[in-house]
Amino acid sequence: MINRREFLSKSVLSLTSFFLPLEKIANAASKDEVIWSGVYYGVPTPEVPRLLNAVSQGIEASGGLSALQKKCFDLLASTYGAENVVNGVLEKQEVETSSLYFMLTFDFEQFLDVPDIAGGASDKMLGIIFNSIKVVQLSLGDEDVRGRFKVKYTIPFYTKFIGDRVPHKTAVKNMLYDSAGSGLSIVDYYANKINGLGFKEIFCTEDMEGCGQAPLNFRVSKVNIQKKAVLALEELGISKYLSESFIGNSLASALSMKTSAITSPFGSTYAFSSYDGFPSIFFERDKVASITDTALSAENDDAYELEVTLIKVIRKKTQSSKTRRGYKRILVFGVKVFDGYWDRKQIFKTAIAIDASGWVPTSLIKKGRVKELEAKAFSELTITVFEKLFDGVANSSWETLGSIGMKKDKTEKMVNDLRVAISKSVP
């Protein structure tokens, strides 16, 4: 039995699909619908217990994946109207070219149990989860037209938990639904963002009346760590914390959160193409998986590419007493931005630096617990320096940019170029 949507779409597609690009196909459909497509882990399923251990356990401890799926669906329905939103997770779907598919993925986590430098008996904790909201379009194609997959919006963001140490799953529960202690919870951030994407606007295409130019997008294409920095990280014992994944995800999230620019999350696109990812909601799962895989393997057409290089990791002793040692920590990154849409022209290249000082009790040094403190300190510095960069660029604040070692006389033109690029990428 054919339903209403299938009927409409099939009849329209059969006439137009050969000639029209995806946006036009979508536009031609009679009803714009939002399909809730699920919550996914951004890593292969067998790797979830290792790479997203806290997140997966936290989800289980707070009602399971189904409770989170329902919450996300309800938020979509209340934002765009229940009549416009279909829960694609509850029943298998036909591919709807006119529809927009929404999903939430967990891309990366970092949980650190750190000793209390104020001498408290129990540990403190820093938990960071990198997530992303993804909105995609899909067409199956037919004999004449190849199926197409297009990522329309990706919104990476992170959620932090800072406080007394609790079981990681308890922290994740808090980060998912409650005030995470530092900013919005994951669900609240998700609600906030979809609320900012007006229903009419998300279906906009450039040829439609009242619609401006479609937003371009950024992608963190490369993370380098220079040899000296690798050595310094190894000596501090924090290589696995200040990893390429952490740096890449921090950069992408900072750009998205500080400027609202559409930004591909750093790393795997696994959730889009795996059989247990996005394709799993469709009757024609295999075909969808093949289409998304082919699309993602093809040369990407991201408008702007970001490359980041960790250049220096410095920790030096500044003060010393019997029980405390004062350390200054410095991070230096190099950031390049390429306009990759036409001919990959470099539009931005600068080094940024950040420093902070702190005490380390010698008792913790003797207990061998410095590594966690350093990991926390350098992780926070990494996020802060990227936030300052994009905050400074977006707001033309030379006070902010100066505080990360940028000089106006040397970088003003580049900053302006980057601001223009960011403005073209905001929906």
């Binding site: 430098i117 104020a118 001498g119 380098n224 220079q226 310094a232 000596e235 501090l236 014992g237 290089t309 250049i311 220096k312 920790r315 002793k317 500044t318 003060q319 010393s320 007493s321 019997k322 029980t323 405390r324 040692r325 004062g326 200054k328 410095i330 230096v332 190099g334 390049k336 600068t350 080094a351 940024i352 630096a353 950040i354 420093d355 902070a356 000082s357 702190g358 005490w359 009790p361 010698t362 008792s363 040094i365 003797k366 061998g368 410095v370 100066g402 505080s403 990360i404 070692g405 940028m406 000089k407």
Partner: protein, 462 residues
Amino acid sequence: MNKSIKIKLISATIAITIAAPASAFNFGNFAQKMQEQMSNMQQPGSQSQNGASNSKAMSVERAVELSCKTIYGAPFKSKQLPSSDVEVVSQYLKTPSNLDEILLVDFDKAYSGSFTGFTSNLIPQLDNKFAEQLAEGYVREPGVRMFAQVIHAANSADKTDETDNDMNFVAPSDRSVAKTLLAYLLLQYKDSGIVKDSNAAYQLLKKEDDRVKLASTMLARMHLYGDLAKQNFRAAFAHLSRGDGDVTKFKLNAKTYADVLVNPPKGTPQSNIDRLKQVAQSGKGLMDYVNKERKKAHGTAAYKEAQKLLAEGVKIDQITAEALGAGDKFADAKAKASLLIGEAKGEQDQLKYNVQVSEKTMAELEGVMNSGASMSEDSKKKFEEATQRRIKAHLKLNDLTPRIIATGMFQGAETAQLVNAYKRKSCSFLRRAKTFAKEAALKIEPPMSNEELADVTSDVSF
């Protein structure tokens, strides 16, 4: 003693007692308040109020320092180095970024065999004032900075040996002894993975053999045990004899004799052991030292004063514990002391009890300070007042031990031992209280300026 002299002495004592915290245990404006109080306690003839106060304050601090010399070590004045600390230490050590932590943590390591670990007991055996100060400085602050100072001294300290009028060798130069100290420190870190050349210590000691007794003794031990050098008994005993000296001073050498006599390393020839016995019994050796130790005198005269001061110590501990928000630690210490001593039946038991309470409380409170305790302004005031009283009691106890022994009272030795135990703990606590006060006033380094950060980013390539 006439009345005016007596008044002057009392005034001086009060000024000294109060001035010490103002300089050494200074929390913010407390020092200023102390200065104001002192303005009414000037000694006759002082040039200026402030000048006199400061000078007396320093003398009290010095008095505490001297009474605690074995614990504090004399202050070591850092020398200007030709390059950075890290560059200097790189002559002997690898320089990972956590080198400072390794040097701190592994300084407490103990070993078995020829080298058992660097302890404060070795310091007087260096028998050289400069090197002893250097070593005390290192004990106080094990780390890159002081290691660089030791290497610098081993490279460039005065190399003139002390000679008598006939130009005969009398004592080794500062540089020679510093080289020996450096060798011992290299041995301390032998298993830490940071010493570039595992043979460097041996080579340094070898150069100072027959000049620095501690160098000869360690070479003897190395050859005796065969763990850090080839086992060679002939060489070992030759080195051991070169390390001979006053057994009350060169204890490691005496201990090596004792070690061989009591528990000779496997393979030690019997003839060597027999010969050592003869040396030990000859009067200048080990037996003589042991016998001297046994002949320690008994005494009683200052017994009552000791009782009073040690009881005062317990009160001071209680106030300090309250200031640090650790009243429960004081109560615990009292309970533990009661368990250990039992019901106090007499004065001696009470003395033991008080010392037990104080030792335990001070140990606990040091832990509280080490954990980074913070205090309110009221608590700081209480802490300062308690510290003043502690200094006063400490200085009074300082000369008590010989007086107790001199009286010949039968509990004298035990009392002296209790007083000494208390004093040791008091030294350690006062030192900690002083650094704690300084730490409370220490400010963390401010962030770099925009210009400084711009400099950091200006010379990078990527």
